[in-house]
Each structure stands twice: as structure tokens, then as C-alpha cells.
Symmetry: C2
Subunit: 288 residues, 2 copies
């Protein structure tokens, strides 16, 4: 899951706005990660639909998904019942794009995350942090051409932020591969698992490092990573200094490096599937 590293934020981000995904599912995911108060745009629209007059939520969806204003505390007309939001997390592609963008822009340019307010300063740093869970401009489905994804939404939001901040670019954080933050997190998890395997104590608390912090030391001489996507998995693994193995079962197809020589190449080889990749790594270390 590209947003697993978000767990590391729960100590500082208490009240968060979660955007994207089908239905109301991303709220449950954020709760599962440990965030205390998880808001969604539909809660805000339930409180005051004029904030996003073009929204396409049905009455039923608003009733079913939206928290009542006394719970969500996002009344933008009565500031006394409004509470600031700590950060915005884009978990997945927005479905209600116009209302999602409107609320995101309102918060980025608000006074300290208080909906219904507008800060006077224009700057690169938004009023509250915004975190994107991945940066894929395209993704593939049954359609014959790739479809726009979260990376495209990020570009659109960036452009509107610049337009409202004298051309200054938006400072944001993006998780997912090929970003270092994801590999740091995975590295912490690997160290944690190793510790559990060695001690036999599988019930110990999962490690929760600060986001972006690499492990202080690593017990591993080599880490082998198997991935299917040269632009994310392999590029990120190479940059992080891991051994990378590319499989033929996913995004990568033989011939891709001929069509696009700029794609990142695996430094440990191309194999048919994950099992072949694991065997190749074990063999290189004399373990099989």
C-alpha cells in the first residue's frame, strides 16, 4: 500500500482531511492507520453545500457518508463550532474532483487550516501540509489508452495553488515509489521484521519512525527488491542503493527499453516472475 508510510504521521496529525477513493472507504483506511479525527469532503458539504455548489453527491450519499456538523465540527459559517484541520491526505484518485479541489484549495489558502477563512500571505508553504500517496500520472485499465491518475490531479492542484499565490509553487509531500520516503519506511519495516524473526516476539509494536528518516543503522549487507515497473519500483530501488530485479508479469514488457531508453534498468536482472527473482537472489548468496 503506497500510503502505509502515513502511519508515521499519526502523532502530529490529529485531525485530517482524507480525499479520494470510491465511496467512503478511505475514511476507514485512515482510521485503521490510527488517525483520530478523519474528515472527508462530504462532511464539509453536509455542513454547508454552498462551499462546493457543483458537487454531485446525492442526498442519500450525504446522509450515509457525511458526519453531522456537531461531530465533524466543520461549520464554516459559525466559526465557534469550526475546528482547524491539521493536514490533507490524498489517498487515491478523487471521484468528486471539483468539490475535492475546491475544499483542498480553501484549506491550503486558509488561516491555519480553519475552513471559511482566507490567509493574507501568499507563499510556497501552504497553511497546512498536503500529502499525496502516489505520483502516477497515468494508470492502466481496460481502456485502450492509459487513464489520468493522482499525479495528474497533483499537477492540476499545483497549477491552481500557483495561480492563487503569485506563481509560487506548492510545497507538498508525495509518498509512493520512486520516492525515498517509501524506501526508508520499507527499510524500517524490514529491520523490524528481522528483529521479530530473531527474537520470536511477533507481537511487539510496529516501528513508527519519523517520515523521511532513514534507519540509523542497518543489519543488511544487501537488500533485493523485485518490481514490475521500471519508472517507480526499479528507479526508486536503484536510487536507494538496493539490488533491483524486474519481472515480466506486470507493467514492464520486453522491448520497453528499446522504445524508451530513458527507463530505469534493473541492476540485478530481468526475470519471468517473483519466484524466479527470489531464487536468483538466494543463489547469488549461496543459499540454494
Amino acid at each position: 500500500m503506497s500510503h502505509t508510510p502515513l502511519r508515521t504521521l499519526i502523532t502530529k496529525h490529529h485531525r485530517v482531511l482524507v480525499v479520494g477513493g470510491p465511496g467512503d472507504k478511505s475514511r476507514a483506511a485512515a482510521k485503521h492507520y490510527g488517525f483520530k479525527e478523519v474528515l472527508r469532503p462530504v462532511d464539509i458539504i453536509r455542513s454547508n453545500p454552498y462551499i462546493c455548489p457543483h458537487h454531485r453527491y446525492t442526498k442519500q450519499e450525504i446522509e450515509q457518508w457525511g458526519l453531522p456538523p456537531e461531530v465533524s465540527k466543520v461549520s464554516v459559517d459559525g466559526p465557534e463550532r469550526n475546528e482547524p484541520i491539521d493536514s490533507i491526505m490524498v489517498f487515491n484518485d478523487p471521484r468528486e474532483l471539483f468539490s475535492d479541489i475546491q475544499i483542498i484549495m480553501d484549506l491550503l489558502n486558509s488561516e491555519y487550516g480553519l475552513l471559511g477563512t482566507k490567509r493574507l500571505t501568499k507563499r510556497s508553504q501552504p497553511s497546512i501540509p498536503i500529502i499525496f500517496s502516489n505520483n502516477d500520472f497515468y494508470w492502466a485499465n481496460q481502456f485502450r489508452l492509459p487513464r489520468l491518475g493522482q499525479g495528474a490531479v497533483k499537477i492540476a492542484i499545483n497549477s491552481l495553488y500557483e495561480a492563487t499565490n503569485d506563481g509560487m509553487p506548492l510545497q507538498s509531500l508525495t509518498l509512493g515509489k520512486p520516492y525515498k520516503v517509501s524506501y526508508d519506511y520499507a527499510h524500517h519495516i524490514l529491520i523490524d521484521w528481522r528483529e521479530k524473526l530473531l527474537t520470536g516476539n511477533m507481537e511487539s509494536e510496529a516501528c513508527l519512525p519519523e517520515l523521511n528518516d532513514p534507519p540509523l543503522s542497518s543489519p543488511f549487507k544487501n537488500v533485493y527488491m523485485v518490481g514490475d515497473n521500471p519508472e517507480s519500483d526499479i528507479l526508486g530501488g536503484n536510487l536507494y542503493g538496493w539490488k533491483t530485479i524486474l519481472v515480466r508479469t506486470g507493467v514492464y514488457k520486453d522491448g520497453d527499453f528499446v522504445v524508451d531508453p530513458s527507463l530505469a534498468r534493473p541492476n540485478f536482472g530481468i526475470v519471468d516472475d517473483v519466484k524466479d527473482g527470489v531464487m536468483k537472489a538466494l543463489k547469488a548468496n549461496g543459499l540454494v
Copy 2:
């Protein structure tokens, strides 16, 4: 209506995609303007929902609004039943923003407006023209802060076009004030009305000049324009060389020029309402 000048396009734009507005209303508007084949994104989604997997149309809306594929001829899987689209017209704020943007991007980067194809060249000129009916970044409703409008959507589309065309900016046409194209059109209409009043023949065909063409000659020494918005009405009127009169009944409020000295000022005065403006112009010409 900011899109009235679109009438001038009907001779060259036979089959158009119309985007934005509530329900399916913009289709009727485009038909009323004289466009022969008017498509909407919902027709394309009815033909192949995989083109916009995040759309939020209900089954009922697709049945009710979407044309059947044999009528719309937008089958993107069977090119033999697909027909190219001549241009894209954004009439009003999109409601289904993600699917609207996806289909717009598909067409701008298509081969000659044929959905399901992708051109190989990257350039500023899109495969088919895109026309925005206005450029307002914000508009006002009951909410305490202004809401994002069509100008914001245009910026988002521009940013995605640049991202898919090696950073080259999108060439597009924007109607509405303060753009010259709207004033040229209004000027033609004024000449036409004068002709009708002089000849008494009110039934003659409305003039349909080429878009962007000013009248070859004008019978008017002065044209007076009354408007409520310094940034659109007054700015455009001043640039076009008309006498501009600003009213206090709309967007403009006394004190606005103090807060924002860069706003365009009327060159013929500020009045309480439209009637006062008309009387002021008549008086200046000794007609009252």
C-alpha cells in the same frame, strides 16, 4: 450570454463536444445555437465507461442523458463506428470534472479528434480547437469566500496539456469579457439592430460574422457600454474604445478602487443603476 458568439462557429464546427453546466442543459443550448451534432461526455461514457472509470453518473442519468452509441458514433473500441469531433466547447463550470478533464485531454491529444487514438506529435496546437466561454477564476454565491469557476478549470486543463506536450502551452480560445472577440460580436449585433430599425425589416437573418473579425465599418461615432464588473465589462470596453459606465448594483462596490487600484476604471463615470447610465449617455449627446 457569454457564449452567444459561438453562433459564428456553426459553419465550420459541425460535430462538437459540449462540456459543463447542470444536467444535460448545455446540449440544448448548443443545439439552439445551431450546431448540428452536439455530444456530451455522458454520451461517450455510455459508449465505453472505461474511458472515465471515476465518473459519478448514475445509471439513470446515463440512460436519460446519454445518446445511444449508434447515434453518438463515439465507439472508441470499434473505430469503424467512431467519427471525429470538430471542437470542444466549455459552456459552463464542469460538474463531473474528472471525466470532463479526461475526455478533453483525450481529444486534445488525439489524432484529428478521433477518440481512442493518440497523436505522436507534441505541440501547442491541440488536435482540435478548445473554446472556453469565460475566464472567471472566481464567482460569488452564498458562501463567504468566492468559489472556483471556469477560469480555474482552464488553468488546470492548461497544466495537464503542458505536462503531456513537453511543457508547451495550450493554444485555446476564450470568449466572454474582457476579450475582444465578444466586443466584435456585440458590435456586429449593434450594427445589425440599427439596420433593422432603419429598414423596419425585423425578420431579416441575424448577422453571423467570422469569430474575431471586427466590422469592416461602423456607423457609430460613440458606443456607450454599461457594466457592473470593472475586471471584465469595463476593462474590455475601455480596451475596445467604447465609452464605459460603471453601475453600483452588481459586482462593483464603492471603495473597490481604493482596495485594488489596478482595477479598470470607467471612462464615462459611475452611476447608481442602468437607467442612470443610459440617461447620462443620452444627455451627453443632447438627446434629453
